[in-house]
Amino acid sequence: MSKSDSYEDIVKTRREENFAEFQDEDHGFMHRVQHTLHVTPALVPLIVLVISIIVFGALLGSRFFSPFALTLILQQVQIVGIVAAAQSLIILTAGIDLSVGAITVISSVVMGQMTFRYGIPPAISIVIGLAFGTLCGALNGLLISRMKLPPFIVTLGTWQIILASNYLYSRNETIRAQDIETTAPLLQFMGTKFQIGGAVFTFGVVFMIVLMLLMAWILRHTAWGRHVYAVGDDPEAAQLSGVNVKATIMSVYMIAGLICAFAGWALIGRLGSVSPTSAYEANIESITAVVIGGISLFGGRGSILGALFGALIVGVFTLGLRLLGADAQWTYFFIGVLIIAAVAVDQWIRKVSA
């Protein structure tokens, strides 16, 4: 090499700087807070949840701060909570599912109609309903992973298709609660109540909590869970690292469909009846719960437990403001504020280089 080619020699000799090492330097208090939040993303919604319970508890006293009222919140958010688990999975892959509410309601309608129109035993009807929800999810997954269509568009379409099919198939008829109670009580199983002290739980509530814990464990401790995050973070990088991106996306939409079908079963328990016009609000409320729960809409970041906390925050505000006698519009007002605050906090946490 000629002399001019050796221009990098100067840096070859000075090796004591150790610039390619990993160091956890100690920065100020705010930096440490930021770091902790970055490592445990479900912490923010948990703090907000605890603070809001304390504030409403202080304002309302035992009317709010009682086992009965607090477990009432759980019952009120169970459907949205279960659907939010499905929505979280999808948003973690950087997708979005607008058809979750429609899948929920059509699954409940299928369960009801199988029993009452065709006389199939309720246990089998429930299995058929769960399979049907999975199938709806598979349709979304197929269009998104194989046809490469954007999730927003696909689910905007399937939302309308599934909802219309729901009305056509059910002939817009409600199956009455008394009929279900006498002939097929299993359909209302998720609504079964049991008490511990003053606290009232339903199997639907237990299912929501167990589902959230189970999904959190799966996402953290299985290869599939890590793949969900990797696909949402950077699909091309995941593909090159050997992740089967198509299969991961397909499985996420199918599991989301299955979870929505379980939400449909819980919906029968909650309402008592099978109503094709119910659960219309599950779409937007599940997305709200996920966003308030700190899961990034750009995928790959956040914890599914955050979505549970997000759903509970909405429940606490709804019940708390109603007990305070405030106009229901204030609930929406504060939820709007929370959504924007959640996204702002998310952006702050992600500034890791600071």
Binding site: M1, E8, F19, A20, E21, H221, R226, L240
Partner: protein
């Protein structure tokens, strides 16, 4: 003469009317660093992709250890012991160093927790990742659970090279490893590449940086117009010669090839 560990004969790949590989030959000897240089559009990426399974050539054969292989996906090549560090690094920024190193080849726990519940053996993965990083002198602290996005460019490259070195039993392909790095970080990565070579793993290095190529490479494969123009020994030629061959300004002597 020893047999090449990885070789290719008569590779052809066309994209529509463009011939990216035109009856291209390739040889990588055991334990060497072979640099592949060529002007943009000469087809060196396609050559590398054909060797790493990302592209399936229309004609020609690839031999690994003297045995004919045909890769149809990057995972095929990986399973055969060929690891590629892509220019984009192929890492998920929000996941930890350990997660990234094991992406797509996770270790599950032994016994019922791993088999039935498919639980990952985090401790084994973290220990292994830590071990590999310290082997290459990249590890001074214990935080293997740091997310990749908190690392600098050189550190990320280091993790990517360590990942390839950890699993690449036969061949490691490095695509522009210093392209996005500063001078000092490049230096560290070059040393890392030499460390890996000293462990006996042959390396294919694709680079536009002539000083780096001439410093590291044992042989230089010059690619031009979709085929191997010649292979030169960097000690016999100057960088300007190499650039002249690459751009067609000068013809190599017949015996050089």
């Amino acid at each position: 003469m020893t047999t090449p560990i990885l070789s290719a004969k008569n590779l052809v790949k066309r994209y529509g009317r463009v011939t990216a590989l035109d009856h291209c030959d390739f040889e990588l000897m055991p334990g060497e660093i072979l640099a592949v240089i060529g002007d943009n559009g000469a087809g060196k990426s396609t050559l590398i992709k054909a060797l790493s399974g990302a592209v399936v050539p229309e004609e020609g054969e690839v031999y690994l250890d003297g045995k004919r292989v045909s890769f149809t996906a990057p995972t095929d090549a990986r399973d055969a012991g060929i690891e590629t560090v892509y220019q984009t690094l192929a890492m998920s920024p929000a996941l930890s160093i350990a997660d990234n190193m094991f992406m797509g080849r996770e270790i599950r726990k032994p016994g019922i927790m791993g088999k039935v519940f498919r639980q990952l053996d985090r401790k084994a993965m973290e220990d292994f990742a830590r071990q590999k990083l310290s082997d290459l002198g990249l590890m001074t602290i214990q935080n293997i659970n740091q997310t990749v996005e908190t690392l600098s460019g050189g550190q990320r490259q280091g993790v990517a090279v360590a990942r390839a070195a950890a699993f690449g039993s036969k061949v490691i392909i490095l695509d522009e490893p210093t392209a996005a790095l500063g001078v000092k970080e490049s230096r560290r990565v070059l040393e890392l590449i030499q460390d890996v070579r000293d462990r006996g793993i042959p390396i294919i290095l694709i680079s536009h940086n002539m000083p780096h190529v001439f410093e590291l490479a044992d042989r230089v494969h010059i690619h031009r117009l979709g085929r191997r123009l010649c292979v030169i020994n960097p000690r016999d030629y100057s960088m300007s010669d190499a650039v002249a061959f690459m751009t067609g300004a000068k013809e190599p002597e017949p015996q050089a090839a």
